[in-house]
């Protein structure tokens, strides 16, 4: 069972929800796909961490062979190549590693080399296997790290997996939810929150994923996010209160469910609800 946790923006409690769900699920896997700003490992503090470089393929030029025909420069859709002062310049950060230039160089002057863009870490925290992807600063896209994180996890069939998605609804998020069985959307009770929720809502609908909403930071009074869910007939899985204790635990990177019985109970019941929803979806859709 793969559960993806997403939100239109960061800071809404996506990591809070996914980390605590994985913690109460006991034997489970947590994958932090927010490779630009991975925070899950700060909570889990995993041990026995193994690290693996993630690299992409980047062209390199043999200047002896290059005759300056500029065919590669004209081809590259991303302007990652330029021929300046009798030399081919490669802007590695903006290359998308499509391989086109290598394929078409008539002089065979281009070859590929591996270039590290970040890393993947795997560690253990109690019974949770924690995967973290980390994009190096200055690199443009972490998609290849996410692909690697998710491929690594494919084999483990029935174990519960929680995917902490990157914020937003761009292509990088799509990559993260592709294989998910269920999506948990986390929303804040503000005008911004509704706007952002609406975007991920459109996204999960487009991908035809079953989903439900966790309303975070609920206070007394009007909750625009709740209103949105009621209007659109969206399943509300849980309302998490705004309270200082939870806020403090969270800002100190503590896993609330592991710290107090109260939060353990809250997140276990959320997990049960999610499991029921997933089961319901599989029976109705089979």
């Amino acid at each position: 069972m793969k559960i993806a946790v997403l939100s239109g923006k960061g800071g809404t409690g996506k990591t809070l929800v996914s980390v605590n769900l994985a913690a109460v699920a006991q034997k489970s896997t947590y994958i932090d796909c927010d490779v630009e700003e991975p925070n899950g490992h700060l909570f889990f503090k995993p041990i026995d961490v193994q690290e693996e470089e993630v690299s992409v393929k980047i062209p390199q030029v043999d200047n002896e062979r290059c005759n300056g025909c500029r065919k590669c420069v004209d081809f590259c859709k991303f302007n990652a190549l330029a021929y300046i002062k009798d030399k081919l310049i490669i802007f590695e950060e903006i290359c998308h590693s499509c391989g086109g230039c290598i394929m078409l160089c008539p002089e065979k002057a281009l070859t590929e080399k591996e270039k590290g863009i970040g890393k993947m870490q795997r560690g253990i925290s109690d019974e949770v296997t924690v995967y973290t992807g980390i994009l190096d600063t200055g690199e443009a896209s972490g998609i290849s790290i996410i692909k690697k994180l998710l491929v690594n996890n494919k084999s483990k069939g029935d174990e519960q997996t929680f995917i902490d998605c990157p914020p937003g609804s761009a292509c990088i998020v799509m990559e993260s939810i592709k294989d998910a069985d269920y999506c948990v959307l986390v929303a804040e009770p503000t005008l911004f929150g509704v706007h952002n929720l609406n975007m991920v809502y459109e996204l999960v609908k487009l991908f035809n994923k079953p989903f439900g909403v966790v309303l975070n930071k609920c206070v007394d009074g009007e909750n625009p996010a709740e209103k949105f869910c009621l209007e659109k007939n969206i399943k509300i899985l849980k309302r998490l209160p705004f309270d200082n204790e939870l806020g403090m635990l969270n800002s100190n990177a503590e896993i609330a469910a592991r710290k107090t019985k109260k939060y353990y109970a809250i997140f276990s019941s959320l997990l049960e609800t999610v499991k029921r929803e997933v089961q319901y979806e599989t029976t109705t859709n089979s």
Binding site: G8, K9, G10, G11, T12, G13, T15, E36, E37, N39, L42, F75, K77, F78, H96, S97, C98, G99, G100, M103, L104, L135, T137, G138, E139, A140, S141, G142, P166, P167, G168, S169, A170, C171, I172, M174, E188, P189, T190, L191, F192, H195, N196, M199, E202, L203, L206, V219, E222, P224, N244, G247, M248, N250, S251, N252, A253
Partner: protein, 293 residues
């Protein structure tokens, strides 16, 4: 034009709340929202008028003409992004296609061409005195860095002579963030006193330093964790970064935002604190590098 970019690693730290307050306080004539994935600024600094909308074309997406295709499989084998699949015919998944053009190049019968695709919408709000540039990326489009560049271009073109522009930045540290950073005079980082907030802040500073941009830092919701607030202040001191202020957690702020107001429109604790941060930030922004104003 001096450009002040307001950033925070993640959303939810109050970046847009603070950006909107700065816009109000400075009476800025020109501003922009570079969070094209999830723009929020228009919700409080709307112009009350309809924006001028322009379709934004990202990179063209590949399309296969099944009538010409001879099913040689070259395109599928050479697409590095697994965007081509074959069911009954050969098809391109436009969400996965990165527009590299390799398939078009390898196809022996010219069955593939790259077709323009709308990747988002640019919006420009203008009235006699103000210019507000923003955009919304279409879901799943991958070229948000380029759209950010367009938002900034649109802003500059609309009013090139203004003294100050305030830009609500893009989250993360990837390509939209880098695009929002290029060409600005100073970044104000809104940090949150949490372990994750500190981790995000350090990653932003690293990248901003590469660009050689002036950096100022303020803490939002500082009273939710005093120990971490102290850590951030100390960090700034050690790194020689300008610290401009601390803003308290304030439930009135949420109310203001939900009413479509900025926090300096009402009388509240966070509004007062943001004024102070604003004054210090402006001082730094307009200070010449040789120290005089």
């Amino acid at each position: 034009m001096k450009q002040l970019l307001i950033l925070s690693g993640k959303g939810g730290t109050g970046k847009t709340t603070i950006a909107s307050a700065f816009i109000k306080l400075s009476n800025a004539k020109v501003y922009a929202d570079c969070d094209v994935d999830a723009p929020n600024l228009h919700l409080i600094i709307g112009q009350g008028s309809e924006p001028k909308k322009t379709d934004y074309y990202g990179l063209p997406k590949s399309e296969i003409n099944p009538e010409l295709c001879i099913e040689c499989d070259q395109c599928r084998q050479n697409c590095r992004f697994d965007a081509i699949s074959v069911k009954r015919t050969y098809k391109v998944d436009s969400f996965a296609c990165e527009s590299c053009g390799v398939c078009e190049y390898v196809c022996p019968v010219d069955a593939i061409s790259l077709k323009p695709a709308i990747a988002g919408e640019l919006m420009l709000y203008t009235n006699e005195e103000r210019v507000f540039s923003t955009a919304q990326l279409k879901m799943g489009s991958g070229t948000s860095g380029m759209l950010v560049t367009e938002v900034k271009k649109q802003m500059k073109l609309a009013d090139p002579d203004t003294e100050l522009a305030i830009i609500d930045g893009s989250p993360g540290i990837g390509c939209p963030f880098i695009a929002s950073l290029s060409g600005v005079d100073m970044v104000l980082i809104v940090a949150e006193p949490s372990i994750s907030g500190i981790s995000d802040m350090e990653r932003i500073i690293k990248t901003a330093a590469k660009f050689g941009t002036k950096i100022a830092i303020c803490i939002n919701k500082f009273d939710t964790n005093y120990a971490n607030t102290e850590k951030i202040e100390l960090f700034c001191k050690n790194k020689g970064l300008t610290f401009v202020g601390k803003i308290p957690f304030d439930s009135d702020a949420v109310k203001a935002i939900n009413n479509g107001q900025t926090i300096v429109d009402i009388n509240c604790a966070s509004g007062l604190a943001v004024r102070e941060a604003y004054n210090k930030a402006m001082e730094l922004l307009f200070k010449d590098d040789n120290g005089s104003r």
